[in-house]
């Protein structure tokens, strides 16, 4: 089965990203396909490379990046939601005159069409939110 995963909340504040990660990891280990992981609303906060969580707790961003690396996942951050919340890649920084970028390289910023496409192409859409 092909899954599309939507995450609506940022890391740590809500359990959404954790639940989504565990579901996604389990689905992949069972041999299912994950078409795309799409981060919307505050979920875009899962893509910053600047988090420094306590050493004795899970590192949510890095954990997603490692899973994406292992299974070649497409992890997409919505451009409009990212702009609103200050997640920027080189392109966004240049276009919008920002003096820094903060996105983790394993994530890519793209449009909402990527979410719709994922929902239409996949067999199941899983939404994790609050």
């Amino acid at each position: 089965m092909k899954f599309a995963i939507q995450i609506n909340e940022g890391p740590y504040q809500h359990q959404a990203s954790d639940s989504a990660y565990l579901f996604t990891k389990t689905a992949l280990e069972k041999g299912h396909e994950v078409f795309r992981v799409f981060f919307y609303h505050d979920g875009v906060g899962n893509s910053t490379r600047l988090t420094t969580p306590p050493q004795d707790d899970r590192h949510i961003v890095n954990r997603w990046a490692a899973l994406a690396e292992k299974y070649d996942l497409d992890m997409v951050v919505c451009v409009a939601a990212a702009q609103r919340r200050g997640i920027a890649d080189d392109g966004e920084a240049e276009r919008n005159g920002k003096d820094a970028t903060n996105i983790h390289p394993r994530f890519r910023i793209s449009g909402l069409g990527q979410l719709i496409e994922a929902a239409v192409q996949a067999d199941r859409l899983m939404v994790f939110g609050d």
């Binding site: 939507q6 609303h41 909402l112 719709i116 939110g129």
Partner: protein
């Protein structure tokens, strides 16, 4: 995209207190380009999204309620509003924005986009979908 799926956008939250109502509308607008069979469901506090007379001047936020009026132009013509959700809140169709679309098959006749449904009917509608979005 070769297939057409039935997509339902489940709206259960009030506007302005959180961003979900507005950002979900942005998905609907972008999604319109994908020519799927789309509908919106307004349930629980979601019915508050389409109350008429919203004036956000005092809270310095953008009043996005006019965007609902544009949905017809994007060929999003099925806005299911749950009766029980309205009744629980002491509301009726009269409190809602008059949302319409123009049917080109009937000489651009203006038709209502809002369809009042019972909870049971909405449950049935949900069963008929291929995808349910939640925000």
């Amino acid at each position: 995209m070769s297939q057409t799926k039935k997509l339902m956008y489940l709206n259960r939250r009030a506007p302005y207190g959180t961003i979900y109502a507005w950002e979900s509308l942005e998905v609907v607008l972008i999604g319109a380009a994908f020519e799927q069979d789309v509908s919106l469901a307004f349930v629980d506090d979601g019915v508050y999204q389409i109350i008429k007379g919203q004036d956000t001047g005092g809270i310095d936020m953008k009043n996005f309620s006019p965007t609902y009026s544009a949905l017809g132009d994007y060929e999003v013509t099925k806005l299911y509003v749950e009766k029980e959700s309205l009744e629980e809140r002491g509301l009726s169709l009269d409190n809602l924005m008059h949302l319409t679309w123009e049917d080109e098959d009937e000489d651009w006749a203006e038709k209502d986009s809002i369809v009042l449904v019972s909870r049971a009917e909405l449950a049935q509608l949900m069963d008929e979908q291929d995808v349910v979005f939640s925000f």
